[in-house]
């Protein structure tokens, strides 16, 4: 039986998961949380390319990858 095709909602769920990893990063090891968020966002971007109607979400995923780069530079040493 073929799997159900992914939808934009599936892509957004991955992005939202990445958002939560970033938002709650200070409760755990931020470096690990940011890396997990990056990985989730990369997968979301890849999936967005294959899902009709999900192109804006690919942009959202890349925007967040830039956000995480900035966050790491802002983190107090």
């Amino acid at each position: 039986m073929a799997e159900n095709p992914s939808t934009p909602a599936d892509v957004w769920a991955m992005i939202e998961r990445a958002d939560e990893l970033v938002k709650y990063a200070s409760n755990r090891d931020p470096k690990t949380a940011y890396e997990q968020a990056r990985e989730t966002l990369r997968k979301a971007a890849e999936l967005a390319c294959t899902v009709p109607g999900a192109q804006p979400l690919e942009d959202q995923a890349y925007k967040r990858l830039e956000d995480i780069d900035k966050l790491e530079n802002e983190t107090p040493q």
């Binding site: 958002d19 939560e20 709650y24 200070s26 409760n27 956000d67 966050l71 802002e74 983190t75």
Partner: protein, 197 residues
Amino acid sequence: MKLGRGKEDVEGRVPPNQRLTRGWPVLHASPVPKFNPAVWSFRVWGEVSNESELTWDEFRALPTATVHSDFHCVTGWSKLDNDWEGISFTEIAGRAKPKPSATHVLVHAEYGYTANLPLETLMDDDVLFAWSHNGEPLEPEHGGPLRLVVPKLYAWKSAKWVRGVRFLDHDERGYWEVRGYHNHADPWREERYSWQE
């Protein structure tokens, strides 16, 4: 001056798909900034007659207000019965004297974080800039020294580490609002995402 809702039964106070928390989860999309009262300032500018930039001491010398209210995070938790103390938004607006053209406000916080709100929403009597929570100084991880509190909307509108407000003659989406989250953010309508608009 005591403003906002009183304590009442929990039933009917938790919006759809929210769960109660007794703790206070810490979440934010930036590091916790260091507070230096000697250089901290609160700027009010834009569509107002009286632009200003207040020092921490000047800000703290304004008339204070307290609000008892609930708090709802878009990640799914709600924290009831919070006692906030600070400066009401109406106090800030009254001093700034918004021009008739002012319709919205962009709240500015550390690290360039912003949150946009209609001026009408901010003029509610339960909206304030808080430095105290439940009788204690607001802890840095919860937005201390100063955060906005907008009880009727999801908590990302209640920006932490606020440094100023810009009055606008138009709406301008803030940090999360350009990242797919709802422009208005009413928890009772579950206004979580921009595609619901």
